[in-house]
Subunit: 301 residues, 2 copies
């Protein structure tokens, strides 16, 4: 029996990042057929947006070097979006060749992470995004933007809110339909999440992407929902995180999120039993247990 | 830099349950000197309420068979409360002999758990509590009451809110100064927590005791704070849980709670660094890592 809280949305879209953000950090080499089956199981569990892979250069993310082959293998279902990450124009070219209808670009909210992750400055990172976004939109392909390190990074400490709003607004102004605010190192707390969402003014194009490094992801999600956000990034089984920062582990687990949303009477269209079964199936293939608490509790028997 | 949320309290009392609720579930035998040092380290980290041990019969909880010896060993500091759990009059006698100034009784919100844990019914459990509470108060000893399985139990499913309010109100009416609402199997979600606290009318004598079995403890805490609760039970390092129900694991970790409260600008008087150091120290003695995410993140170095 659900117990609603006033001011929370009726529906939430879970933006599933497991096949990309999860698998890109795995040491094991996952066969392309397993990846395709993983994505198909997620669709079967009710997901309507599944970030499928990344067209980052294989030198940087060898785990996803098979992105073109995966998209050729995958039976894409009507009504389901399968966005892919593209870091630059070369990545966009490869994505377009694979017939994608949505891409995502990845920006930094801090100077140091822009330098380390993108080899750019906070300002010049846009030289990379602008042609990608413009060409994608020209080709009829929607563009999502990530902005990372929104609450802090390991080098500069807390990120000024106005700096995140400046980077994010510029990405939205370039034509991105959605902006995902990423707490890449998991340091955020609910008041900070509220303040950041409110600083944007309009939450309708915002998504949140929380990491559970300090156990805060679900509490932050609750605060973001209350501030008007209706799109939440999560990873089936809680796999993945950011490979660039040592302390960055633990995407919010889709199952833990769905447990909360279901209890709150918020519709996601997702089948929790099928999600858990998928995580158990995947854990066998990855050779390690799912970090999701819900998966651990429900699969104990 | 803290980011406050309107409607949350300025101060929260963390009711530390690690030495009792944590250690009672450990397989390892912990020497009494280690227990005393653990409690002293918690006091040193700023705790003002530390549930020290339990006077349950050693047959049921052999891990805490040394409760009398512990209280004799422990250097109790002025201004710090060291409540102990007492299940019945025999336990109270032993606690009073040890010179305690606060005890806690343990009730069930469901019929089945009352039968399994207390060998009583929902109604007859009060035959056990009434003389304990009355005699403790006569002796000038304060009484806290726990009520467990407040959102559901493994046998009956969801617990009706009015049933929890009936049990809890009766305990408060008997003279308990505080009522701790326990989600023993961790199934609660934030709306349920809100509804339960609101159903009591006055939150000023309520505490919450959440388990992280389904990852919900911190989100539920946030909801409870918003509903007016200012006392939160937690266990240093996240040790412990309930030994009676298979799926009941994972007390909310004090460090994860303090990370959130600190970020929200809510004063606890606790030193996070000292708490983490205590958890790292204890983990070495228990022979297994702390389940707290904050401890894991901050002790990685």
């Amino acid at each position: 029996m659900p117990f609603r809280i006033d001011g929370l949305p009726e529906r939430v879209t879970v933006y599933e990042v497991g096949p990309r953000d999860g698998l890109q950090n795995e040491k094991a080499v996952i066969p392309v057929e397993v990846k395709a089956e993983f994505i198909d199981r997620l669709a079967d569990a009710g997901h309507r947006v599944i970030e499928a892979t990344s067209f980052v250069h294989p030198k940087w993310v060898p785990q996803l070097a098979d992105s073109g082959e995966l998209l050729a293998t995958l039976k894409r279902r009507p009504g389901i979006r399968y966005p892919v990450l593209v870091p630059n124009e070369r990545g966009l070219d490869r994505a377009l060749e694979s017939g994608v209808d949505e891409v995502a670009v990845f920006a930094s909210a801090t100077e140091t992470f822009a330098a380390k992750n993108l080899n750019r400055s906070l300002e010049t990172q846009f030289d990379m995004f602008e042609p990608v976004i413009a060409r994608a939109l020209e080709a009829g392909v929607k563009v999502r933007a990530y902005v990372s390190m929104v609450f802090g990074d390991p080098w500069e400490g807390p990120t000024p809110i106005e700096q995140v709003v400046r980077v994010g607004t510029r990405l939205l102004d370039l034509g991105c339909h959605e902006l995902s605010l990423g707490d890449t190192i998991g340091v955020g707390t609910p008041g900070h999440a509220t303040a950041l969402v409110e600083a944007f003014g309009d939450p309708s194009r915002l998504a949140v992407h929380f990491h559970d490094t300090y156990g805060q992801a679900l509490a932050n999600t609750l605060a973001a929902l209350r501030a008007g956000v209706t799109v939440v990034d999560a990873s089936t089984g809680g796999i993945g995180g950011c490979p660039y920062a040592e302390s960055a582990t633990g995407n919010l687990a889709t199952e833990d999120l769905v447990w909360m949303l279901r209890g709150l009477g918020i519709d996601t269209g997702l089948d929790l039993g099928k999600l858990v079964a998928t995580s158990v199936w995947l854990a066998e293939r990855l050779g390690r247990p799912s970090p999701s608490r819900v998966v651990q509790a429900l699969s104990k028997g």
